[in-house]
């Protein structure tokens, strides 16, 4: 237990402290992307935990990003309002479509959400007057919180880190609670669970909405940080990134996507010199993980922990 607390303090200290030690804008930039990626990947993990792979998560991030941007630029709302609104809008959207989409499962749900994601991106592309089409939206105002405008990558890192931490704690909290017991039961044996009185659809919709909420918030942070939005940031390929992060980190626990994001987000940068091999190395890494780490990095750590820390 003491070991665990010490490890926790160390992790928090490193996560908060390193940008003051490594004063490099570029590395801090990677840190921001990493933290945003943790939020979206942990959100996707919530869906994976209920056995429903939602391909639309990337487009949901886009919904959050454009919502926040338009609320600030068109309606002049402060970031402090636009930020929660972007999460709530995506959550509401998920709650409305969820009862229809979540009626189906497995590959059907995957295909439905794939079509939904493509549809949303298409709207971003085609509704030029609102979303700026393929040219996107430029010069998005910087976020400001409590009269303080966030300009430096470091300040965005802390915003994104806070969001990542809250998303992670929410996922852990949900799955460790009584609600988590219900969700695990549904995942293990839905007919049995339903015969005991639970309404399976209502729980799936709730998880879909919560995952949408955090994904929308991540989109908002992303928009105001990069200052530029274009539809191609939210396509199927961004979803593949989130999914690979989950598979390599381990989908059985919210810690998996956290570790996955820390490992994988910097990778394209490290592999810069071998750009033509980038996709290949990505593929090899995935293959290795699937073959040798069926429960991801988290599974490996658990194994090591059992062996070395009785």
């Amino acid at each position: 237990m003491r070991l665990r607390n010490a490890a926790l303090v160390a992790i928090v200290a490193v996560a908060v402290g390193w940008p003051f030690v490594v004063e490099n804008r570029y590395i801090t930039h990677i840190g921001v992307l990493m933290a945003i990626s943790i939020s979206t990947s942990v959100s996707l993990n919530m869906m994976l935990r209920i056995g429903q792979l939602s391909i639309a998560q990337a487009a949901f991030m886009g919904l959050g990003a454009y919502t926040s941007t338009l609320l600030v630029m068109r309606l002049g709302l402060p970031f402090l309002l636009a930020f929660p609104a972007s999460g709530l809008l995506v959550a509401a959207f998920a709650a409305v479509i969820g009862p229809i989409f979540l009626r189906v499962k497995g590959v059907y749900f995957v295909l439905l959400t794939f079509a939904l994601g493509e549809g949303i991106v298409l709207v971003f592309q085609e509704w030029v007057s609102l979303f700026g089409g393929n040219n996107g939206i430029h010069s998005i105002p910087k976020a400001s919180l409590f009269g303080m405008t966030l300009v430096s990558p470091r300040s965005y890192y802390f915003l994104a880190l806070a969001l990542a931490a809250v998303t992670f704690l929410a996922a852990v909290g949900i799955f460790r609670s009584a609600v988590g017991a219900v969700l695990d039961s549904l995942n293990e044996n839905e007919p049995l669970s339903q015969s005991l009185g639970v309404n399976p659809l209502s729980y799936r919709v709730a998880v879909f909405a919560v995952a949408g909420f955090f994904t929308g918030l991540a989109g908002s942070v992303y928009a105001h940080y990069t200052g530029f939005l274009s539809p191609d940031a939210f396509t199927f390929w961004s979803l593949v990134d989130m999914l690979v992060i989950n598979v390599i980190g381990g989908i059985g626990s919210p810690l998996g996507p956290v570790l996955g994001a820390i490992l994988l987000v910097p990778l394209p940068e490290l592999l810069r010199d071998v750009r033509q091999y980038q996709m290949l190395s990505y593929g090899l890494l995935l293959l290795t993980a699937v073959l040798f780490l069926p429960s991801g990095i988290v599974g490996l750590l658990r194994k090591l922990q059992r062996r070395w820390l009785p």
Partner: protein
């Protein structure tokens, strides 16, 4: 005779699978306080009848009423929340959870039947714990409560299924062959359990192959054969019914 308020009332219930009439125009009523038995040869339609009552299958025709309300076409979870909960013919448990967790989960699945609040439900976890402890004691499963459900012997797994159903606080318990695979002493314990449950105001419909058990504990018995109700009455009436004897090929020996 004054009209009795029926607890469960099934009228003209039918279920076809393609050409097969698995349940064929079955009607019966069950009064509160009655222990109601359903028997019949393999494939007679007993499990299908349970599936229809619990909403797992929807009927081709007919109506089901519970405490006066039509429940035909309700989803299984809605039926369970009305108070009709079933146990399964095959053992159906959360294999990788502990015995205690199985019962806790059953309690939570009923209590938190839909996500209503954004809290962690700490109080519910404690209530689930208390409930699980009590039920496991009632069914004498408390000594194995820490074991994985999959490690239990078959008979205890079936008993665990009953424990889970009880954790939802049912009004009416539909039991699908609870005695199958039990040894004689376990079967006697089961018969004693029925009486204790009745004492708690829980009514029971019992589907069983163990005709001796059904005859000894049930107040009234419905006999199905090829989906049709061929007899309905008290055990002594059923025992001497020529159609029932006919259905059970071997003759009177099997039913005595």
């Amino acid at each position: 005779m004054a009209p009795v308020t029926q607890l469960l009332e099934v009228t003209g219930l039918s279920k076809r699978f393609r050409g097969l009439r698995a349940v064929d125009d079955v009607s019966f009523g069950m009064a509160k306080g009655e222990l109601f038995g359903i028997i019949g040869p393999n494939g007679a339609g007993k499990t299908t009848l349970f599936n229809l009552i619990t909403g797992t299958l929807s009927p081709t025709a007919g109506e089901i009423r519970f405490r006066g309300d039509a429940i035909t076409g309700l989803k299984p979870d809605a039926v369970a929340r009305r108070g009709i909960v079933r146990t399964f013919q095959a053992t159906t448990i959360f294999r990788d959870a502990s015995v205690r967790d199985n019962v806790r989960r059953a309690y939570l699945l009923r209590t938190l039947h839909q996500p209503a609040r954004l809290t962690v439900y700490r109080a519910e976890l404690q209530a689930a714990d208390a409930e699980a402890g009590e039920i496991l004691e009632l069914l004498e499963l408390d000594r194995v409560s820490a074991q994985y459900a999959r490690e239990l012997p078959y008979g205890s797994q079936k008993l665990l299924g009953v424990a889970m159903a009880l954790a939802t606080r049912p009004r009416l318990l539909l039991m699908d062959e609870p005695a199958a695979g039990l040894n004689p002493s376990e079967t006697r314990a089961l018969a004693a359990l029925f009486q204790r449950l009745r004492g708690r105001g829980i009514d029971i419909v019992l589907v069983e192959h163990d005709v001796r058990l059904v005859m000894s504990v049930c107040d009234r018995i419905l006999v199905l054969n090829y989906g049709r109700a061929i007899a309905l009455g008290r055990p002594d009436e059923i025992r001497t019914d020529p159609q029932v004897i006919e259905a059970y090929l071997g003759g009177a020996d099997d039913i005595a």
